[in-house]
């Protein structure tokens, strides 16, 4: 399409809408098809887990770093995982440099919430010594190329990073932590695999995985995180309104398509073994 501008031309908008009315999308996909996924894991040696994920032309590189610190007083036997996201200027002329803006904060928070409530990260296994020392995990998402739907790409990228993790194992000796010489890996840290699926709405038509032109003209989006049998988080954005029927339909669709995607991607293949 025409290269990215903040103003989208009317004919491009009409082009996309007219084709959607025939249930056709301009890149040939159906309403419920994802673009192609390409996943690489453990590519950054300085990180304790990493993933390079492409969804169509959208590309996201995520890395994991750890620290050992004191737990929060209200959860003395649990570790902590925080998600941060940066929309790098090299990903799009629409991204300005500077501190995280609304879009990057939304990306980080939606991915974070999708993981947090789904029994994904076993935070009790991230405890070294109750009240004294726990792991603090930093999952940092960098958007390398923007071509629509950062949330789903970010979600899979974060999940793959956690699965590929290999963090030095600590033990409590007297009054401090020491390295056991071993590692705790994604197999220990990750249990459930919540998948976040983003749907776009243009006019009355709803579809999955908005590409760049679709995202720039869409009236609204809704992202739904699902495990095998539960919905774990929902985020609606944009000015469009969704009917209750639509929302119920989308929850079902998300579960169905989420299970499909989880099986297709087979993310557990990305776990890492370290002696």
């Amino acid at each position: 399409m025409m290269s990215i501008r903040r103003v989208i031309s009317k004919i491009e908008r009409n082009y996309i809408i007219n084709n959607l009315k025939n249930e056709e999308r301009i890149d040939g996909r159906g309403l419920w098809d994802y673009r192609e996924w390409k996943i690489k894991h453990n590519l950054v040696a300085s990180a304790e887990g990493s993933a390079d994920v492409c969804l169509g032309d959208t590309r996201v590189i995520t890395g994991l770093k750890y620290e050992v610190g004191e737990p929060f007083p209200d959860i003395p036997d649990e570790g902590v995982c925080t998600v941060m996201a940066e929309l790098l200027p090299l990903a799009s002329p629409l991204f300005e440099r500077g501190p995280p803006d609304e879009q990057s904060i939304e990306l980080a928070r939606v991915v974070d919430r999708g993981i947090r409530h789904a029994d994904c990260i076993q935070t009790k296994k991230l405890c070294i010594k109750e009240n004294e020392a726990v792991y603090i995990l930093f999952v940092d998402i960098y958007v390398i190329n923007y071509s629509g739907n950062l949330i789903d790409a970010g979600g899979i990228s974060a999940l793959t990073t956690l699965i590929s993790s290999h963090i030095p194992e600590g033990k409590w000796v007297d009054d401090h932590v020491e390295w056991t010489g071993g590692y705790i890996t994604g197999e220990t840290i990750v249990k459930e695999l919540p998948i976040v699926l983003t749907f776009g709405k243009i006019g009355d038509i709803i579809f999955i995985d908005p590409s760049l032109p679709e995202e720039l003209i869409c009236d609204g989006k809704i992202s739904i995180s699902v495990t095998k049998d539960k919905v774990t988080s929902i985020q609606k954005s944009g000015a469009a309104t969704f009917s209750i029927d639509d929302i119920q339909m989308l929850n079902k669709k998300a579960m169905e398509l989420g299970n499909l995607l989880r099986d297709n991607l087979n993310l557990w293949q990305y776990k890492v073994n370290i002696e």
Partner: protein, 255 residues
Amino acid sequence: MTLLIKDEYPEKLFREDGKRLDGRDLKELRPIKLEVGILNNADGSAYLEWGNNKIFAAVYGPREVHPHHLAKPDKGILRVFYRMATFSVFERKRPAPGRREKEISMIITDCLEPVLFLELYPGTSFEVFIDVIEADGGTRCASTTVAALALADAGIPMKSLVTSVAVGKIDGKIVVDLSGIEDKAGEADLPCAITWFNEEISLLQFDGDMDLNELDTFLKLAKDALKEIYEMQLNALKSKYITIQEKYNGGQVKQ
């Protein structure tokens, strides 16, 4: 905040067999892989792997200057933004740009500017974004080398490419292309860059101690390494087009 494994430097930087810790000879470069035009939203882009360094570079320009008061009426401005990912180094780096990143940004700007014709683009800006995904010694040299490719890929007229490498001294011996460990534990580190149109130095820094006659040795070694890396840059720029030409011309491409 603590880490369980400490970042320790080995006692010796040479092995029993006389090679460096990663198996290299004194003058040997780490493996370098360059790719041009990998990001389709930027005007020009390139990706580099140099040893364990992994760096993306992207260029936008000529375009309007933001904030507007920085625009110059008689020439364009070049700005380079060098940033490292939090997970690119052993101990997690804070996301916000630090002093080292700002210093390196400035040095790379000064290094690339001589090859551009900024006087032809008054009131506009050229911006180079460099993002280091993994760092392992010599990142400013690697960044300069990949940034030059991104500028060429953007179709911006250039007097020539720019190539950069670091030479230094470890355990008393003068070597080319210091890895992360060699950089931290060695005695001297001299990153430099050459602009090929006049074969002069556009980036030069030095840390450590050196005798007056050692500078000559350093720079001679650097020149040889720079020529080697330059060939790789040229190949990277051309290879995308040559592969396609060969496919359709039946291999009759003149070089």
